[in-house]
């Protein structure tokens, strides 16, 4: 092919055979020792593994020829601009729409609504999550652009997340930590990390590894902190509600 879209396909395939084989061996051992399912079910499993294998090969090849080079291209173009700060609003927009489109985010919003017995509307949570991820993505971009050490962002961020643990409701806490990586699907990872790596490559005095990576770690904080905060607001409002109920009696 002229475009070289199959370049490196052999390496990608080799990389994936190992994990798939590992899963296969594990399942087969379990099947023979304990499960002893009928052959038909085992064949369905094998078909699933085959699909997953083909899917992974296509996905990673696509990532390698499309998202990684494109992310780096866009990143170094932005890094070469006079106004590198434009990356910050770009991060905000990217973060917002990626979260809005993520199906898992809708499931999470629904779960939070149920956990608050319908008190917090799922639409509110959805918008809040989108804004939170957008803000944190912008923050991550700002960090790369201005070369702020990651320690200054990660340590306070996770410290806040841990402190909130002691004040937030138990169910919300578990939910918040479970959904940390909800906005960082593999495509987001491929594009955004390549982008920041491209930016730090183009900027003088930045290290590709030190300044380019870390974005995912920062974005992960967005749902963790915002859902816990939401639970605090919810708790305060319920407490107030109870107070007013008591006074009414």
């Amino acid at each position: 092919m002229m475009l070289g879209i199959f370049e490196g396909l052999d390496n990608v395939t080799l990389d994936i055979i190992l994990p798939i084989a590992l899963l296969l061996i594990f399942f087969l051992v379990f099947q023979f020792l304990f499960l002893k399912r009928p052959l038909r079910q085992v064949l369905v499993l094998l078909r699933g593994l085959l699909f997953a294998f083909v899917g992974l090969v296509l996905f990673l090849q696509g990532i390698n020829i499309a998202f990684v080079p494109m992310g780096q291209e866009i990143g170094s173009a932005f890094g070469g601009f006079d106004n590198t700060w434009t990356l910050i609003p770009l991060g905000f927009v990217l973060g917002f729409f990626i979260t809005l489109a993520e199906p898992q985010v809708r499931v999470l919003s629904q779960t939070v609504e149920e956990a608050s017995s319908g008190y917090i509307r799922s639409k509110t949570i959805l918008i809040l999550l989108c804004l939170a991820v957008a803000t944190f993505t912008a923050l991550a971009m700002a960090r790369t652009v201005f070369g702020i050490p990651l320690h200054f962002v990660i340590i306070p961020g996770y410290l806040i997340a841990v402190i909130l643990l002691f004040f937030a409701d138990k169910d919300f806490v578990a939910m918040a930590f479970d959904s940390g990586s909800i906005a960082t699907g593999p495509l987001t990872v491929a594009f955004m990390v390549s982008l920041t790596v491209g930016v730090s490559d183009a900027l003088d005095g930045r290290n590709m590894i030190v300044d380019g990576f870390g974005l995912i770690g920062i974005i992960t904080l967005a749902p963790i902190i915002s859902i816990q905060l939401l639970s605090l607001i919810y708790a305060v409002k319920t407490a107030r509600g109870e107070v007013s109920d008591d006074s009414g009696k």
């Binding site: 475009l3 070289g4 879209i5 990389d15 994990p19 798939i20 590992l22 899963l23 594990f26 399942f27 379990f30 304990f34 699933g48 593994l49 699909f51 997953a52 083909v54 899917g55 992974l56 296509l58 996905f59 090849q61 696509g62 990532i63 020829i65 499309a66 998202f67 990684v68 494109m70 291209e73 990217l94 990626i98 809005l100 489109a101 993520e102 199906p103 320690h151 996770y158 997340a161 138990k170 806490v173 578990a174 918040a176 930590f177 479970d178 940390g180 699907g185 593999p186 990872v189 990390v193 590894i209 030190v210 300044d211 990576f213 870390g214 974005l215 995912i216 770690g217 992960t220 963790i224």
Partner: protein, 229 residues
């Protein structure tokens, strides 16, 4: 089956279109990327969307039910060593096949981090250890709050001593570990596990399993950074 195919297709497209749309917009407005790069991008995007579709379809129709069966089988033998062994192997195997983890490893390799498979192995081992911890926590009913506080507390302390180039990749590793494959797989095993534990329910006891598992790669990579570099 038709329903699963339809939902998976919608999901694959939904996860894909916004990023592609933003990139295409950027290409036509701000930057003019070389046309071969752009065409490769379009071809690669199409490939990836089919890839995500087949991958999720295979995971849902074949691999997930097996994970649930294994989870339900585990507590019936009343053996902690069996739970530990299966939790470790399952957590490890599943994470090595997570697309997000492979992607991070690829980008790191492209950016000049010559690590071979170290990144994948440490991330997977981290998930394996803390996922197993999570399963054992469910049996003993130890409050998730404290387990999370302890593990993330350890991560914060280690972060003070880690060189910057490890810190960034360590926290990214935690984020990619919970991906479109690992989350449903670990949840499936967790659900099967809690469903046969009698007085435990997945809703109140299973939550937190993923959040806990994510701390594994962070701690693993930080330890690597603190002690070996």
């Amino acid at each position: 089956m038709y329903q699963i195919i339809k939902n998976t297709a919608i999901e694959a497209l939904g996860a894909m279109l916004p990023i592609v749309a933003i990139i295409v917009t950027l290409h036509f407005t701000v930057l003019n990327v070389e046309s071969t790069v752009f065409l490769r991008f379009l071809a690669g995007s199409t490939m990836s969307v089919f890839g995500v579709f087949f991958f999720l379809l295979g995971a849902r129709t074949g691999i997930l039910p097996m994970g649930r069966d294994i989870g339900a089988e585990l507590p019936q033998h009343n053996s902690i060593p069996l739970i530990v062994a299966v939790g470790l192997i399952f957590g490890f195997a599943v994470t090595t096949a997570e697309p997000g983890v492979m992607t991070l490893n690829n980008i790191a390799t492209n950016a000049g981090v010559d690590n071979g498979a170290t990144l994948i192995i440490v991330i997977s081992a981290g998930v394996a250890v803390l996922f197993t911890t999570g399963l054992i926590r469910i049996i003993f009913g130890f409050p998730i709050k404290y387990v999370l506080a302890i593990t993330y507390g350890i991560a914060i302390i280690l972060a003070f001593f880690t060189p910057p180039e490890f810190l960034s990749i360590a926290f990214d590793g935690g984020g990619v570990a919970a991906g479109s494959f690992t989350v449903p797989m670990l949840l499936a095993l967790g659900m099967g596990f809690t469903s046969v534990l009698g007085n435990r329910s997945y809703l109140s006891d299973g939550f937190g399993l993923i959040g806990l598992a994510c701390a594994g790669p962070i701690i693993g990579l930080l330890v690597l950074g603190v002690f070996f570099f």
